[in-house]
């Protein structure tokens, strides 16, 4: 339960963080809230020899209303996303989802950028951002680029970020009907990770823990678009997914849950709007 020894470097600006990452190369990892990385290190599943701490970069912690979208700095804590008045009014799905991550301690440490960069299919915020068609802004030694959420999550703990690239901002377009949202998180205990989760915004449906990455329930979305009932669309929720089996649930049960939760989410989103 103690990580192997590592070198600790604290970055005082985003540019310095990127420069440090370039300097140390593959041995280095960015440290944001540490709530995904440090548990792995304590169990000795990860052993980076250098940690570049982003924790003192206020320049990366903000929530700004940019007319058509809301810009969120990568270092913004879950707690701040949860309590943002801008998000409460414009993108309530995101504020609510942040409030369902772990417990208060975790929400005060964990960051939205860390959650996205970690690329865990069981995380809550990536799925919500996928349903919201967010754009991720990454900065590296060779400049800045933007990646659509739909193309960002590549595989198990694998994202489109290049080694050393820093995720700086998350841009979330304002939904046409902000109230048409629902977030369903199925857990055994209140503090658990989702066994299966569903984030719905309008007719966009994203699934948590139904494959190696957060996924859109494309078959169900297509059915809705062609006029199917909620029940009929929800019956297709598990199409194209590749959920795994573990001590919390079998694949078959996850698929069942996905169908039930998508139905409930669509009904709730419909009732809200």
């Amino acid at each position: 339960m103690i990580p192997p020894a590592f070198t600790y470097r604290r970055a005082s600006s985003a540019d310095e963080a990127i420069a440090l990452a370039a300097e140390y190369g593959d041995d280095a990892k960015y440290l944001a809230g540490g709530h995904s990385l440090l548990p792995l290190m304590k169990l000795r599943f990860a052993a980076p020899s250098v940690l570049i701490d982003l924790g003192r970069l206020p320049e990366l912690s903000y929530i700004r209303d940019e007319r058509t979208y809301v810009a969120i700095g990568a270092l913004t804590r879950h707690h701040d996303v949860q309590h943002s008045p801008v998000l409460a009014a414009q993108i309530p799905l995101l504020a609510h989802t942040a409030g369902r991550v772990g417990d208060p301690q975790i929400r005060h440490r964990g960051t939205i950028g860390g959650s996205v960069a970690h690329g865990d299919a069981a995380s809550d915020l990536p799925a919500a951002l996928l349903a919201l068609d967010a754009t991720f802004v990454a900065r590296g030694p060779s400049g800045t680029r933007s990646v659509q959420a739909a193309g960002f999550f590549k595989g198990i703990f694998e994202t489109d970020l290049e080694p050393g690239e820093l995720l700086t901002e998350i841009q979330v377009p304002k939904p046409a009907v902000p109230a048409a949202w629902s977030f369903q998180k199925f857990t055994k205990r209140a503090i658990d990770w989702a066994i299966v989760g569903v984030a719905v915004q309008g007719h966009a449906i994203a699934l948590i823990n139904m494959g190696t990455t957060p996924l859109r329930a494309t078959a169900a979305e297509a059915a809705l678009a062609s006029g199917a009932s909620i029940a009929d669309a929800a019956a297709l929720a598990a199409e194209g997914t590749s959920a795994g089996s573990d001590i919390h649930a079998t694949k078959a049960f996850r698929e069942h849950l996905a169908r039930v939760l998508v139905k409930r989410a669509l009904e709730e989103a419909g009732a809200r709007s």
Binding site: M1, P4, R44, K188, R189, A190, I247, H248, A249
Partner: protein, 778 residues
């Protein structure tokens, strides 16, 4: 007015909640200056021969003092010869390790039998160095087929102890082959019930510090009994009087800290072997791997009776997984057998048990230790029987309860129940819960075909506390010349509130205010003779001992006071409200405790006693659990939990409620979410708190506690134990509630933990069965 029975706030709490307790890791005793940190190298495989251990790389690490293996333990007394294993030998009496061919080594010798078994100990200057160095100890294993379950143990394809020739290490109970006991039963139910393996999970894991100097070993251990620990520690080759064991603050035990484990013995040996003090504090991960765990039984039941609900016969076969080592041999399942028929007067009862070794963490006592399994099983069986007969489970319970006039009552399995008011306890719970209204609401939801169904679960339990009543408990009281008192108890507080309770008893008997009473426990130099805290024994034995000592001190004081008053001893009285000694009929004259004690020899009045009890006591109660089950997902929400737990007169409701709250939470946890799991190779799947689903406050409602106080005649306080009752009652109440919620769908039984998937699957297969039945009827 006596302080007994009043809500006295725990005197322990200001210190524990503000200044902080002093646990083993916090100790700054001079003897521990420069203590080395111990880190264990633990087996990473479930079952293997050790073909080599290379410590050289670890020894080169900074800060490494020593890396020790079994080969270094040449200065230990040799273990007794193993002898032949006789499978038909009578069961060991009491919770003793089996020994012989089944012996558990200290550090592993040649073979490992579970993931987490200690193989080597690394001593370093600091904790960090320890984990780094331990990782570099290279152990070569020749893997053997794992025995990860009872089923695998019985198949005997792989033997943990080849010299024994079997994985079955104990058998006991009665002959259960007589089928005729079910003759004439109109309703018979037979089935398998799993009482799954769970972790004890105290807030503070195991910890031990040891220092050896001048021929004397001092060991500070997180334990439920310092004196027993001292006895166990003689294994390192020292006589008891060369060992001092101290239990500082202990952050919970739940049975898993009765005495000390092999790790503590190894730490003590390492301190003696190296001459350097050593401290070991386990991590949560280690705790989940290697602290003893609980339950781990598979049970087969058969219950039969008349259509109108009279139970005529009950049969129970217990299979106990004892893990890799038989720490308590057949003790736990023998208690399950003893308590098999529970609160019911069943004309024919047969119960037996078989204990097997597996490649799991060793099993030992966990809050209830063998009795929760009995209660969970009979309470499940009675509900199952009631459902099959189409009768209300409350009614079936009442029909079959042992009646108040039948006490003392000896069950068919030999349990001598002292006293009980079983029906009264159930009635109180039903009234408090509003049973009939709940049933009406349940009917409404069933008729509406609601997705969220209501379940009402009952459990009426009896359990045995102070099982080793004859061992009793010790107490010494000194009243000093300043009027204060010191209580030395052999009992061992680790969260229960002994200091509050025992000081209350002294105040009640002697009129010395609680804040002038110091309670001391858990130091074998001060209290060489003591038994400790487990089996819900502390108030009935330890508390009765305090009262007995107080009465002796009072007699002694009366003699002193009579001399001072120049009055007859019979005329001298103590006013227990004011703590003043007076002469009857002469209110103007009085003496304080300080004045009386000052006149005693050495300025101290003293009494040193042992209280023993003729027999164990049998607390009882009923619990009702109300749950909501989402039939579309199988998710269970615990809505209400109402209990009437009767352990005799209540000394302090605050302490009693604390015991009940924690107990109910742990009982509900077993029913709903907790389970230690292994894969087919014996690898633990729940070795972090992210994977082991310990219950939290968010999963629990506020508990509704009803009072009932039926005294026992076995001790002067009239009290029984309450430490385990909450757990024992809660598990079946919650489990029965969940099954009740879906029984109208055809579900008769679901094994614990009642995870969403299990519940949902049970609903699906019941639906399928109904479908097939209906189709074939057409």
């Amino acid at each position: 007015m006596s302080i007994l029975g009043t809500r006295v706030i725990r005197t322990e709490d200001p210190r524990l909640l503000t200044a902080g307790g002093i646990y083993v890791d916090d100790l700054r005793e001079p003897e521990l200056d420069g203590a080395a940190r111990a880190t264990f190298v633990r087996s990473t495989v479930a079952h293997a021969l050790i073909t080599g251990i290379d410590t050289s790389a670890a020894l080169e690490q900074p800060g490494v003092i020593a890396v020790l293996t079994a080969a270094d333990m040449t200065d230990l007394p040799p273990p007794p010869p193993a002898g032949e294993f006789d499978p038909d030998a009578p069961a060991v009496e009491g919770p003793l390790p089996l020994g012989g061919v089944w012996s558990e080594p200290l550090l592993a010798v040649d073979r490992v039998r579970f993931v987490g078994e200690p193989v080597a100990i690394v001593l370093t200057d600091s904790t960090y160095q320890g984990e780094d160095a331990a990782e570099l100890v290279s152990v070569d294993y020749e893997q053997l087929p794992a025995v990860p379950s009872i089923e695998a143990a019985l198949a005997a394809g792989s033997l943990l102890f080849p010299d024994a020739g079997t994985n079955v290490c104990q058998k006991g109970g009665q002959d259960t082959s007589d089928e005729s006991i079910f003759d004439g039963c109109e309703v018979v139910v037979e089935g398998d019930i799993v009482n799954q393996r769970v972790a004890c999970l105290p807030m503070e894991g195991r910890s031990t510090a040891a220092a050896f100097s001048g021929g004397k070993l001092t060991v500070w251990a997180s334990t439920q009994n310092a004196q027993l620990s001292r006895l166990i520690l003689t294994a390192i080759g020292l006589p008891p009087d060369a060992i001092r064991v101290v239990a500082p603050d202990v952050g919970g035990g739940f049975g898993a800290k009765i005495g000390v484990d092999r790790e503590s013995i190894i730490v003590a040996w390492a301190a003696k072997h190296t001459g350097r003090p050593v401290r070991w504090v386990e991590t949560r991960n280690e705790n989940l791997l290697a602290m003893t765990q609980g339950r781990a039984q598979e049970l087969h039941i058969k219950i039969g009776g008349s259509r109108d609900g009279h139970i005529k016969a009950y049969r129970l076969n217990v299979l106990q997984d004892t893990g890799a080592y038989a720490r308590m041999s057949g003790f736990l399942p023998s208690l399950t057998v003893l308590m098999a028929p529970g609160v019911y007067d069943i004309p024919a009862v047969q119960a037996d048990y078989k204990v097997v070794v597996t490649d799991g963490t060793p099993i030992a006592a966990y809050r209830g230790a063998g009795r929760p399994e009995a209660a969970a099983t009979i309470e499940r069986a009675v509900d199952w029987f009631a459902a099959e007969a189409g009768l209300d489970p409350a009614r079936v319970r009442k029909l079959n309860f042992i009646k108040p006039g039948q006490f003392p009552f000896v069950t068919k399995t030999g349990a001598p129940y002292d006293s009980g008011e079983y029906e009264a306890a159930l009635d109180k719970v039903l009234a408090k819960a509003g049973y009939e209204e709940l049933r009406a609401e349940q009917r409404r939801r069933r008729e509406a075909g609601a997705a969220r169904q209501l379940g009402i679960g009952l459990a009426s339990y009896v359990e045995v506390t102070a099982g080793d009543a004859g061992a009793g408990e010790t107490c010494k009281i000194d009243v000093h010349s300043d009027g204060t008192a010191t209580v030395y108890t052999g009992s061992s507080a680790h969260g229960q509130g002994h200091h509050t309770a025992f000081a209350m008893l002294v105040q009640a008997e002697l009129g010395i205010p609680m804040d002038k009473v110091e309670v001391i426990h858990g130091d074998t130099d001060l209290i060489p003779d003591g038994v400790g805290t487990y089996a819900s024994r502390s108030l009935q034995l330890g508390g009765s001992a305090v009262q007995k000592a107080a009465l002796e001190v009072k007699d002694e004081a009366a003699r002193q006071a009579a001399a001072l008053f120049e009055a007859a001893e019979a005329d001298v009285v103590l006013d227990a409200d004011t703590g003043l000694w007076q002469v009857r009929g002469d209110p103007d004259k009085s003496l304080t405790w300080a004045q009386v004690a000052s006149e005693a020899e050495g300025g101290t009045l003293m009494a040193n006693v042992r209280f023993t009890q003729a027999m164990p006591t049998f607390p009882f109660g009923s619990q009702l659990s109300l749950v909501e089950v989402d039939t579309e997902t199988g998710k269970v929400t615990l809505l209400r939990h109402v209990t009437c737990d009767d352990a005799g007169p209540v000394l302090n409701p605050v302490l009693m409620e604390g015991q009940r709250h924690g107990g109910i939470a742990q009982g509900a946890a077993q029913a709903l979410c907790e389970e230690v799991l292994y894969d087919a190779d014996g690898n633990p799947l729940t070795s972090t708190l992210a994977d082991y689903g310990a219950i939290t406050a968010a999963e629990l409602p506020s508990f509704e506690l009803v009072t009932s106080e039926t005294p026992t005649h076995l001790n002067p306080l009239g009290v029984k134990g309450i430490g385990e009752a909450g757990t024992i009652g809660a598990t079946p109440a919650v489990q029965n509630a969940v099954i009740d919620a879906v029984s109208h769908l055809g579900v008769r039984h679901i094994d614990m933990p009642l995870t969403p998937e299990r519940v949902w699957t049970a609903i699906q297969s019941a639906g399928l069965r109904r479908h097939v039945r209906e189709a074939s009827a057409k």
